[in-house]
Amino acid sequence: MIPTSFDYVRAGSVREALGLLALGDGTKVIAGGHSLLPMMRFRLVQAPKLVDISRLEELRGVQEYKKGLRIGATTTYAELARHPLVRERCPVIAEVAADIADIQVRNRGTIGGSLAHADPASDMPAVMMALDAEFQLRSKKGGRRTARAREFFKGAFVTDMTEEELFTDILVPGMGRNAAVYVSFDSAASGYALAGVCASIGRKRATISDISVAVTGVAEVVFLAGALERMKDTKCDAAVLAAAAKEAVAGLEIAGDVHAPSSYRRHIAEVAIIRAVERAYQRAGA
């Protein structure tokens, strides 16, 4: 488990980091290192140089952003899990962060790292999709731009980002009347989701006025389950929900692996959708 040899630079500023990335020499960003280093140790990634951004204060922390949140890319899971503003304005993020991996990973792993890495079984991408968050990216040549979470994830470990870009912030809109819940069934080995579902639901009395459901772990890439739109204007009717959940995963190509065959994954995704929607519905009514 020894990586190929590489150079290491600790960036003193975002500008310096952007400058190094702009050289286009295969330099990679390292934040918490909890996804990157295992891949380097397996020699699946052989980066000639790493630029460490984990100590850049500019990229870290949580602030108010309109009625929602601005989250710096290098904010760790541990920080998110206990942050009062996150717990108040968008508790699902704190809940998911608190449940990822173990304490060591949560102390080091960053939300920006997870989103940039785009593992198709990781949890946060589904949350960001359901909440319709936006990601701020920056590069030396291209300056700043904003990407919508719902258009960011392109495939397994593939995003809309270029090699030269740095992921700087996440903008989470205010929840308004919505409440969100994340339900996942995890691999006993890795803790990653076999199926993970984030449902964000708004209610007018008993009627669903807004619904977004994102699914991770099941398919090649995290996706928004459009079939659940059908729940709108219903009172979370069980039969409609079951049918919509089935439809949401019906056409998907689902690969089986040692953790679960594809039939089970498909089934468990349905169950996760149903449970997440039911709980979000309850929470929105509380």
Binding site: F42, A189, H259, S263, Y264
Partner: protein, 784 residues
């Protein structure tokens, strides 16, 4: 201090282990140390047509590169040390580095030595090997079928042995039985996953001709012997040191090529060489456990009497016969088919099968969990068939407590037992009535609750050496201790066994300190260095306390005997007039005339005033060879709820009642039970080593192999009954493997009980949600 024996004092080894003060093999740093990394086959089965190491030799920092061709005539292949008789055992050569053919993914083809570990690792990528891939299989049943890939030319059907156990007349019993049940059972491959992977540091002194090998070993004396064979170096030129060892679970018993090769390199190059396994390598090349495919049957009467058991077992050996491999599915498995029961007719046929998997050897419980699992599963299936409560079936077949020592149909003589008492105690803790009521109510609500129960026995405390010889074990099974008392009275005890986490530095000190009337601090236990410990056979098979602990006790008593003679002399009393009271030898009737051990130690060590003919010094050596194995037992109960929709199994309660004789340190015993139970629950719920069609290990990292985590495990309620063993002076039995032996079966019994309304009688472990869900779908007539 009369209560020290039996008190749950804190483990004395822990402060150094949890504060980073412990020295593991990888912590050994020597001047000029070089590092070894192995180039390993990516194929499970292939011919080697060419190896070119010239580029690797040129790489930065590289000192040497060795291939199979370089070592095959200079080193002896890895020996297998358990030559089980009467089973046509075939042991193919296991070259230290493969040269003509590789037989599993991970088989080493070259060793690179470099100045740093990173340089060695980089150079491994430059070892250029041409392989001609061959068909491969890791399935022990498939490997015996006509047309299967053949691993070793001389073994056309891949069958390494066919071992038969037979007692009574099973054929007749089944022929005339009122009821018979049968089941195909897969006992999956497991990865032992000791927290510390294997490692070795070898240093050779060309001046003295002495080799020192620091190794992750459960049995340094065995490793000394086996290294002496492989290296063709006399035993007294080899010193094996097992410093701190971070768990083994059986995986650090065997001899492997790696340690010998590192020693070879150190001797060739005249510099010390270190090799440290990483986790992926550990999963690939360190032995695996279990790997049985079994066809098992039980027969009996409608009123619940079990009359016979019959098995046909395909036991995977992997690519080569590891050190103890042939003995595991035979002696340690087939011989205990009677379990806790009087089963008059037993027949088992066990095929040891070579496959393209990593070699399989002893893993916690080694053969006995597989036996307990199949017996206890069968009892439940049989009970279901005759419509009787499985608890009642167990009661009707238990060996009654007044029948010990009891000879079972396979010929073993169980030392002592009281199985019903353990069962009753466990049921009392559970409150069976309340649980059954809750279960009935839950079923009405469409919820699936279940209870599993296992009344296991175990054979351990390995064992009498004469038996070891008779069953082909290539060594003795006694153990040894030197108790040495220093002039100031403090004591060092040198033992032949080699604890690596079990806590004997505490329990053995308790034995000696209790005997000498000392606080435990006055006694230190030394182990793990062949240059200062007496010949012993190591720590495995739950033997260390029963066998080596007994040697400690005998040696302590010998010291005390001498001390008493000296006391009589110094007190000018008759030996017969002395008694041991309040931590000293006292003259009966005048208790003030007394000598404690510390004072006697000083007098013995200065030898100013010895009785005529008595030698100076105060120490004794004992070699203890037990007259029989010990047979711990107990009842475990597990209650579960199964989520019908997801197949998830939630453990509600886990109750373990074990009987390992009188506990020397109850806290340590409970810790052993906890660890064992968790390992068995891991086996029952989530652990499985999976190979694909090309015999590639798919679960090669912890991302895919589900080692149990604390957050996944239930609270374990532990209790004991105490039935001393008559075969050793401490009366103790083993407790290291008991938890594992009972718990996998217990869990599967519980889930099958929960799903009984659906007609489910068996699901192969591990009971992952996906498997349980599939079984539920199948039972409901749906295609999963």
């Amino acid at each position: 201090m009369a209560t020290l024996f039996g008190s749950g004092i804190k483990r004395r080894e822990d402060p150094r282990l949890i504060t980073g003060q412990a020295t593991y093999v990888d912590d050994v740093k020597l001047p000029g140390l070089a590092y070894a990394v192995f180039a390993r086959s990516p194929y499970a089965h292939a011919k080697i047509t060419r190896i070119d190491v010239s580029a690797a030799r040129q790489a930065p920092g590289v000192i040497a590169v060795y291939t199979g061709a370089d070592v095959k005539d200079r080193l002896v292949p890895v020996p297998c040390a358990w030559n089980v008789p009467n089973c046509d055992l075939k042991i193919p050569a296991h070259p230290l580095l493969a040269y003509d053919k590789v037989r599993y993914a991970g088989d080493a083809v070259a060793m690179v030595i470099a100045e740093t570990r990173a340089q060695a690792r980089d150079a491994v990528d430059l070892v250029d090997v041409d392989y001609e891939p061959l068909r491969a299989t890791a399935d022990p049943e498939q490997a015996t079928q006509p047309g299967a890939a053949r691993l070793h030319e001389e073994i056309p059907d891949n069958i390494g042995f066919t071992w038969v156990v037979s007692g009574g007349d099973a054929a007749a019993a089944f022929q005339h039985a009122e009821v018979a049940v049968s089941q195909r059972i897969v006992q999956q491959r497991l990865l032992p996953t000791a927290m510390e992977p294997r490692a070795a540091v070898a240093q050779y002194n060309r001046g003295s001709g002495q080799l020192t090998l620091w190794a992750t070993s459960q049995n340094p004396h065995i490793h000394r012997f086996l290294c002496s064979v492989m290296l063709k170096l006399p035993e007294h030129r080899i010193r094996v040191i097992a410093p701190e060892v971070g768990g083994g679970f059986g995986s650090k018993i065997p001899a492997y090529p790696d340690e010998a090769l590192v020693s070879f390199a150190a001797m060739e190059l005249g510099i010390p060489v270190k090799w440290t396994e990483d986790r992926s390598e550990n999963y690939k090349v360190t032995i695996h456990g279990r790997d049985h495919i079994e066809y098992v049957e039980m027969c009996g009467t409608r009123d619940g009497k079990i009359t016979g058991i019959r098995t046909r077992v395909y036991a995977g050996l992997g690519a080569y016969a590891s050190t103890a491999a042939p003995g595991i599915p035979t002696i340690l498995h087939g011989l205990v088919y009677s379990g806790s029961y009087m089963i008059p007719n037993i027949h088992g046929t066990i095929y040891g099968v070579y496959t393209n998997g990593t070699p399989v050897d002893a893993y916690r419980g080694a053969g006995r969990p597989e036996a307990a699992y199949l017996i206890e599963r069968l009892v439940d299936i049989f009970a279901r068939k005759i419509g009787m409560d499985p608890i009642e079936v167990r009661r009707r077949n238990f060996i009654p407590k007044d029948k010990f020592p009891y000879t079972v149909a396979t010929g073993l003589i169980y030392d002592s037992g009281n199985y019903e008492a353990a069962l009753d105690k466990a049921l009392g803790i559970l409150d069976l009535k309340a649980f059954r009521a809750e279960q009935a109510k839950a079923r009405k609500d469409g919820r699936y609750l279940g209870m599993g129960l296992v009344s296991y026995i175990e054979i351990c405390g390995l064992g009498p050496s004469q038996v070891a010889g008779a069953v082909g074990f290539g060594g003795g099974l006694y153990d040894s201790a030197i108790v040495r008392v220093y002039p100031t009275g403090v004591v060092k005890v040198y033992i032949g066994a080699s604890p690596h986490g079990q806590g004997e530095e505490t329990t053995f000190a308790q034995i000696v300190a209790s005997e000498f009337g000392y606080p435990v601090e006055n006694v230190e236990i030394i182990h793990g260095d062949t240059d200062n410990t007496p010949q012993g056979w190591g720590t495995y098979g739950s033997r260390t306390t029963a066998v080596c602990g007994s040697a400690v006790k005998v040696a302590a008593l010998r010291v005390k005997e001498k001390a008493k003679l000296l006391a009589a002399h110094l007190l000018e009393a008759n030996e017969a007039d002395l008694e041991w009271k309040d931590d000293a030898f006292r003259v009966k009737g005048s208790p003030d005339k007394a000598k404690g051990m510390a004072e006697l130690a000083l007098m013995a060590n200065v030898a100013w005033n010895m009785p005529p003919g008595m030698e100076p010094g105060l120490e004794a050596t004992a070699f203890f060879d037990p007259t029989n194995f010990v047979y711990p037992f107990g009842t475990h109960i597990c209650t579960v709820e199964v989520d019908e929709q997801t197949g998830q199994v939630k453990i509600l309660r886990y109750i373990a009642v074990d009987d390992c004789g009188p506990p020397i340190n109850p806290m340590i015993v409970d810790g052993q039970i906890h660890g064992g139970v968790i390992q068995g629950i891991g086996e029952g719920l989530q652990e499985i080593a999976v190979y694909d069609e090309e015999a590639q290990l798919v679960t090669g990292t912890m991302m895919d192999y589900a080692v149990p985590k604390a957050s996944q495990m239930p609270h374990i309620e532990v209790a004991h009954t105490i039935t001393p063993s008559p075969v050793n002076p401490l009366g103790v039995k083993g407790c290291g493997e008991a938890g594992t032996i009972a718990s996998a079966a217990c869990l599967v019994n519980a889930v099958c009980d929960a799903l009984a309304p659906l007609g489910i009688t068996h699901i192969d472990k591990p009971l992952t949600p996906a498997r349980v869900w599939a079984a539920i779908q199948k039972a409901k007539g749906a295609t999963p």
